[in-house]
Amino acid sequence: MNPILTFIVVLIGFYGLATSKNIIKSVFCVTIIESGIILLFLNLGNFQGGGIPILNGEADAIVDPLPQALMITTIVIGSTVTALSLMLCIKLFHRYGSIEWAQILRREDVE
């Protein structure tokens, strides 16, 4: 996969953040950006025909293990952010009866 394509995924995410008026869509856009970055990073350490980075004595042509280790962490953090923001969305829907940014931010304080 071409790194340029992953960049395009990231840009789609930012385009969505700058235009979507719905909280759920904003959460998804953050997830899309994150997926783009994960693909980009994995791409850089990967090459055609590279073996898995588990060494049994012989070190052949293996892919770079560091991006994989780091991206696992990124996926974990990303799922945390998604879970937390969706949970807050549910709370917001209960308080304001809407998940549109404009309607939620316009209202005065609700206890």
Partner: protein, 533 residues
């Protein structure tokens, strides 16, 4: 003792988990106990490594060599780690109730301390990303902790905008790994020495990382989350956020500019204007507010702008770092005092609060000390760092007067806030929590000490010479009085009548998609600036 850096992170986090599991009445004492251990450890460790502060002491987690995760402590980290521990003491004392404990709140509070101490020490870019993102998540939970509609919407806004910023930072990390094959900041710095000037990928990485940090530090076009989040959080949390967490972004600004210094990207003028715009917006909106906490939150924006101006105008980070420490002190003081006032008057509207001097004389005195310090009165700590920043701009009259304008705006906001001291007493409820007075007293004392003994303290704590600033002169006093006089005139003639324009500016908010749109434009401008250079 060499394991102290990792213990700074682990002790608060493990204590937090113990508190959450046990949920006992003694949670708060447990937190104090952990705090004492961390404090003692920090004192011993920093006295021990003080001779090596210039180059920094590196600790590799788990005894791995260069491939491990490094934690570095130099002067910058040491000052901010000590400041963090101090501010956490104040917040813990402020939240202390002998009879009731809040284990869940303490869990997140202590967890945040561990994570933030990690953020200040780590020297590994990916680790930095993890700590930044963890800080964002925990701060979101603390902001939304009251579960009111306004605090939850501020939490979501904060979380998504900051996550977008941090992900931008992560793309920069990926690009640097692609170029240098390492994510160790010191190795990357060494690798940059041999680089051709104007390297495109490294330049792009710089741009993206700076954009991400700008969101965390609430710089000009991407500040919209700050007044929202700091205005609705509990006062203790607001003090923490305004005093310290925002400074995490500024710390990274210093650190990463240090890392990129061999590549020599000349962004100093650009960031001067970003800082100036931040400070002016902060002053302008602070003047208009009626909500005491939103006013203080916008004033944080002013001070962040001044810190950035100080960082880019001087050759070293001395003035900026000094203002970071001083601002953490007086903004903490003001938010703590505001929390007491809000709990006593049961309103945040400063037009409905009056006669504070009569109903709460002690809190009023501490609040006045905080206000004097933040407007830069001589003998107070705020004067020292503000004078250092303005002295550096003295050769350039345009910039000097721009910063003067910022100070006038800030003075007008605090003249407006000071109106709560006078007038007839309004309805109030008694304040019986004397533990909350302790942090006010301690921080007030610190404000004076840092203002009067600035020469010796600057030498011992920060290791730089601030003897050029002399608060005991007539000029210092005259400048201050002129600033306040202009601020008073501005308040009296423009803001007090509460005209249509003032009301409209007060209601001004940035919607979420506009905030992101501004962020994308900001990145585009940074990139364009790099390509033009």
């Amino acid at each position: 003792m060499e394991h102290a850096p990792i213990l700074f992170i682990l002790i608060p986090v493990i204590t937090a988990i113990i508190i959450y599991v046990l949920r006992s009445r003694w949670s708060h004492y447990l937190a104090f106990f952990a705090q004492i251990i961390v404090t003692v450890l920090a004192v011993i460790y920093y006295v021990d490594i003080a001779p090596h502060f210039v180059s920094g002491v590196i600790y590799f987690i788990g005894d791995w060599d260069v491939i491990g995760i490094p934690l570095m402590n130099d002067r910058l980290s040491a000052v901010l780690v000590s400041l963090t521990i101090f501010v956490w003491w104040m917040v813990l004392i402020y939240k202390f109730r002998p009879k009731e404990a809040e284990p869940t709140f303490l869990f997140f509070l202590l967890f945040l301390e561990g994570v933030f101490l990690g953020l200040l020490q780590t020297s590994d870019l990916f680790n930095l990303f993890v700590f930044m993102e963890l800080t964002t998540i925990i701060v979101t939970i603390l902001v939304a902790f009251k579960k009111m509609g306004s605090s939850i919407r501020a939490g979501v806004y904060y979380l998504l905008l900051n996550t977008a910023g941090v992900l931008m930072f992560l793309i920069g990390v990926v690009l640097l790994y692609y170029t240098f094959g390492t994510i160790n900041m010191l190795e990357i710095r060494n690798g940059m020495e041999g680089l051709a000037p104007g390297h495109t990928v490294v330049g792009l990485a710089y741009v993206l990382m700076m954009a991400g940090i700008s969101v965390k530090a609430a710089l000009f076009p991407v500040f919209a989350w700050l007044p929202r989040a700091h205005g609705v959080a509990q006062s203790a949390v607001s003090a923490l956020l305004s005093g310290l967490i925002v400074k995490g972004g500024i710390y990274l600004f210093i650190r990463l500019n240090g890392m990129f210094s061999p590549a020599d990207f000349d962004y100093m003028d650009f960031f001067f204007f970003v800082g100036l715009a931040t400070a002016l917006t902060g002053s302008l909106f602070a003047m208009m507010q009626k909500n005491i906490k939103v006013l203080l939150a916008y004033s944080t924006l002013t001070q962040v702008g001044l810190i950035i101006i100080g960082l880019v105008s001087l050759d070293d980070y001395s003035a900026g770092l000094l203002h970071v420490v001083h601002h953490a002190l007086f903004k903490g003081l003001l938010f703590f005092a505001a929390g007491i006032i809000v709990s006593v008057y049961r309103t945040k509207d400063i037009t409905k609060i009056s006669g504070l001097m009569r109903s709460m004389p002690i809190v009023s005195i501490f609040m006045i000390i905080g206000m004097l310090a933040i407007t830069g009165a001589p003998f107070m700590n705020g004067y020292i760092s503000k004078a250092l920043i303005t002295d550096a701009l003295y050769d350039d009259p345009l910039r000097y007067y721009a910063v003067f304008l910022v100070n006038v705006g800030s003075a007008a906001a605090f003249v407006k806030l000071s109106m709560i001291f006078f007038g007839p007493k309004t309805l109030s409820y008694p304040h019986k929590n004397y533990a909350q007075i302790v942090p006010l007293a301690v921080i007030s004392l610190a404000c004076f000490v840092f203002g009067i003994f600035h020469e010796s303290l600057g030498e011992i704590l920060f290791g730089f010479d601030v003897s050029a600033v002399d608060p005991f002169t007539f000029t210092a006093l005259a400048t201050y009085i002129v600033t306040i006089a202009f601020g008073f005139l501005l308040y009296h003639h423009l803001i007090r009548p509460d005209r249509k324009g003032v009301r409209r500016l007060r209601r001004f908010t940035v919607t979420f998609e506009t905030a992101n749109y501004l962020f994308v434009i900001y990145v585009a401008v940074l990139t364009g600036f790099f390509l033009l250079l």
